[in-house]
């Protein structure tokens, strides 16, 4: 009798223990893959608070947890999310939103008009004297709650493109510590974050839209670039975005490699206020001396999209291909230099952030190419924080290779910075025609006229050789063949909800 009871206890223990072990190892090699995935990201989150997080690498993860009144779909269109309906006023001075029925926060409470007002007011910093968390929100005059389901956003100055800024996350007013406890409405719920180690997400079963396929997502932070490929091949991660061509070539056969673009404008940005780049002829000479195809061949196996202005193809109707403005022509480049008084060439510095190898590689190729026209480029690598404060904010530089990305899919996200007095005009671009064309684009509410004006801006940038435009870099994404469904977005976003196990239909 006693023995039997003992056996019984033993049995229970064994079952309990085995339950524990499978709990720990789910997601490993066999079978269980369908319910979990481990993805790798190169840098840690900088905050869980969607309004305070600024790093692109953080936002692309938070995209899965939070949603705005509207969100971007994979074609770059703005689609209703927390709101089910948007009605902008004719002149673009106010936007009225009808909240979607049945949208719940991850804590189970329903999204109310008050939560929407709280979130937008928080980002506009309308209650205090601090700067708005979302710069564009300085244009918000008021957020009015019409009734339980209706909210109106009134603007100071009419802006027909303002909707793109309303992808700003809606968070519950009741959550006093959004930096510790991430509560949103997205397809994934936040579970935990261990700095420098991992972030854990779980499927939101109550999601209003198309639910995620995979239940458990573990996001591992792999800061060391050299260990990414080992981690992929070794099976400790199943997914990694933004791999280089070199890393892709080292992958084992277990991966599907998706090829897309990074959606940024990589260029040799020139300080237009500094000698010798204050002379348009010198800037054009550099453009003629640059062989973009050779850069692509040398740095990324020929992958990447050459571009000729501050606009990349994902912008659709706003994009015009200007990449042939300056075909390689050494004689012309030399003639232009001679005209500008630099017959014997000159020496200049290219400042590059040391943590972005693709930009360093590009700078190295440029240095070689400029030797042909007698121009010597010296490459100076600086830390990212130094780059931000000295080059970007302080404008203390001659030239720099960097990729400029867009925060929203509206043309101003890329073009506003070249207006003469723009606060982020780090290249000190100064062109009256440009300013006029840009002002015209902002002012008009007619879409065709707007698009034409933006295109004119792009053309001016190309013609005046504001920068040596290079490419929209190629992006490679590796996904273990156990999964499928990876979707590119025209913005910096990783949509985990679309990834599904390969065996599911």
């Amino acid at each position: 009798m006693k023995l039997k009871r003992f056996a019984c206890v033993l049995m229970t223990l064994t079952i309990a223990l085995s339950g524990l072990t499978t709990g720990c190892t789910s997601g490993d090699k066999d079978g269980k893959a369908s319910s979990s995935i481990t993805i790798g990201i190169p840098q840690d989150l900088d905050s869980l608070d969607p309004h305070k997080a600024v790093a692109a690498g953080t936002k692309e993860i938070l995209f899965n947890i939070y949603e705005g009144l509207v969100k971007v779909d994979s074609d770059g269109n703005l689609v209703p999310a927390v709101a089910s309906e948007v009605s902008p006023s004719e002149d673009g001075s106010s936007y009225t939103f009808t909240l979607r029925d049945g949208v719940k926060f991850h804590d189970g409470s329903a999204v109310t008009a008050e939560d929407v007002k709280y979130s937008l007011d928080r980002c506009a910093a309308s209650d205090g004297d601090s700067a708005p968390l979302v710069p564009a929100f300085s244009n918000i005059k008021s957020v009015d709650v019409k009734d339980a389901k209706t909210v109106t956003v009134n603007l100071e100055n009419p802006d027909t493109e303002f909707l793109a800024n309303l992808t700003t996350a809606i968070i519950p007013a009741s959550n006093k510590e959004p930096e510790k406890n991430a509560i949103g409405t997205g397809p994934y719920k936040y579970v935990s974050w261990t700095p420098l180690e991992q972030v854990v997400l779980k499927k939101n079963e109550d999601y209003w839209g198309e639910k995620a396929y995979i239940t458990d997502v573990t996001i591992k932070i792999i800061a060391d670039g050299d260990s990414i490929v080992t981690a992929l091949n070794g099976g400790s991660i199943d997914f990694f975005a933004r791999l280089s061509a070199d890393q892709v070539s080292q992958l084992s056969g277990d991966f599907t490699v998706y090829e897309g673009t990074m959606n940024l404008v990589q260029a040799l940005y020139l300080n237009n206020a500094e000698k010798p780049f204050d002379d348009v002829r010198v800037r054009q000479a550099l453009c003629y001396a640059t062989d973009v195809k050779a850069i692509l061949d040398m740095t990324s196996d020929g992958k990447g999209t050459p571009i000729g202005s501050s606009m990349f193809p994902a912008f659709g109707k706003y994009y015009t291909d200007l990449s042939n403005t300056y075909p390689k022509d050494i004689e012309k480049a030399k003639a232009l230099l001679k005209e500008a008084g630099y017959e014997d060439g000159f020496t200049f510095t290219i400042t590059v952030p040391s943590n972005y190898q693709p930009h360093i590689d590009t700078a190295l190729v440029l240095k070689e190419q400029y030797k042909e026209i007698g121009v010597t480029a010296e490459i100076q690598k600086v830390e990212w924080a130094t780059w931000l404060s000295d080059v970007y904010t302080g404008r203390q530089f001659t030239s720099t290779v960097i990729g400029v990305d867009a925060s929203t899919l509206t043309a101003p996200a890329l073009l506003s910075r070249f207006v003469s007095d723009a606060g982020n005009n780090f290249i000190n671009y100064n062109n009256a025609d440009y300013d006029a064309a840009y002002a015209r684009a902002i002012k008009t509410t007619d879409d065709a006229e707007k698009t034409a004006a933006y295109k004119e801006c792009e053309k001016i940038l190309a013609d005046t050789a504001a920068n040596v435009y290079i490419q929209d870099m190629a992006e490679f994404v590796a996904l273990n063949k156990k999964y499928t469904g990876y979707t590119f977005y025209p913005l910096y976003v990783q949509d985990l909800a679309k990834i599904k196990p390969a065996d599911a239909k």
Binding site: A131, P135, P195, D224, T230, G234, A385, N424
Partner: protein, 314 residues
């Protein structure tokens, strides 16, 4: 007793100087925490408002003393980069680095002391010679290189562990300890080699001394002479070395953590310097400085236990 107080006072002074220097360094190097945090999309107004929120707009000395008083009261401040309290951030990481250091230290002590004694006792023998030769070789290997070799051999070659896939102790403590064996080994190998060499020569130095002859003449056997008399004296330089090693490993963990992708305080330190997150950097540096100073203090105390003459003289 007075001696202990004097030592404590110098410990505190050292820490104060270190903290000030770190603060000063952050003021001198280019880069601004608010700009680093907000990145390329920031407007000047946002930067100004964040600087005000963090109190960066105040004069240097006021910021320093404000930080110092909070620190003394146990408030390490707020991590800019990780958006959470520094104490909360570090508490999870210290265990990782401490485990690494302790594991390496146990390896060093448990391997090098018996091996050193063995080599000394069989001085000139074939084994002693081969130990000495391989020592010479291993001593020259920097930990990051032994780390790469170990990753290659045990990780890639023998598949004992998955390179770069750190196991969190909160998920699987056994797996965590197992993973840590390899970085600990990488740190320990060169130190073991040095320690063996030191102990061997230290024992051999003691052997011709008069007290050894006296000990023999009183009827002690070799083993008794060795363990009761010689080793006690021979250990003094070894203890100093081990103390330095311990401090050195805490500071040196930065490199090995990078090689093995271990999210310990070393990695935090690197990240936070990159992002000019100086409250966190200060806290980590103070922690390392404290350990170094504390270990030195402990070494002094162990001297006194090992060698009664030290107690007399002071």
């Amino acid at each position: 007793m007075r001696d202990v107080i004097r030592k404590l006072a110098s410990m505190i002074l050292t820490l104060l100087i270190v903290s000030f220097l770190v603060f000063l360094a952050f003021d001198l190097i280019p880069g601004d925490p608010a700009i680093a945090k907000l990145g390329t999309q920031a407007t000047p107004e946002q930067v100004a408002s964040l600087r005000a929120e963090w109190g960066l707009d105040r004069p240097f000395l006021i910021r320093y003393f404000d930080w110092l008083f909070s620190f003394v009261r146990g408030d390490m401040g707020y991590s800019y980069h990780f958006d959470r309290a520094v104490t909360e951030l570090l508490s999870g990481k210290i265990l990782i680095t401490v485990t690494l250091v302790i594991m390496a230290f146990v390896m060093i002590v448990s391997v090098s002391i018996p091996m050193g004694i063995f080599a000394a006792r069989h001085q000139g023998g074939a084994l002693d010679k081969s130990i000495m030769v391989s020592n010479q070789l291993l001593m020259a290997i920097p930990p990051f290189f032994s780390g790469i070799l170990i990753t290659f051999l045990f990780g890639v070659g023998l598949s004992f562990f998955k390179p770069g896939s750190f196991v969190s102790y909160t998920q699987n403590f056994g797996g965590f300890l197992f993973y840590m064996i390899f970085p600990a080994l990488a740190v320990a190998i060169p130190k073991i080699a040095m320690c063996v060499k030191l102990l061997r020569s230290s024992i051999l130095e003691q052997w011709p001394m008069d007290y050894v002859r006296t000990a023999y003449s009183r009827g002690n056997r070799t083993m008794q002479v060795l363990y009761r008399h010689v080793l006690r004296n021979a250990m003094i330089p070894v203890v100093t070395f081990l103390g330095m090693t311990l401090a050195d490993m805490v500071a040196g963990s930065i490199i090995i953590e990078k090689v093995f992708n271990i999210p310990g305080i070393g990695q935090i330190l690197i990240k936070c310097i990159e992002y000019r997150d100086y409250p966190t950097v200060e806290a980590v540096v103070m922690l390392i400085a404290f350990l170094v100073v504390f270990v030195n203090f402990m070494v002094d105390i162990i001297y006194r236990i090992l060698d009664p003459r030290m107690r007399q003289s002071s």
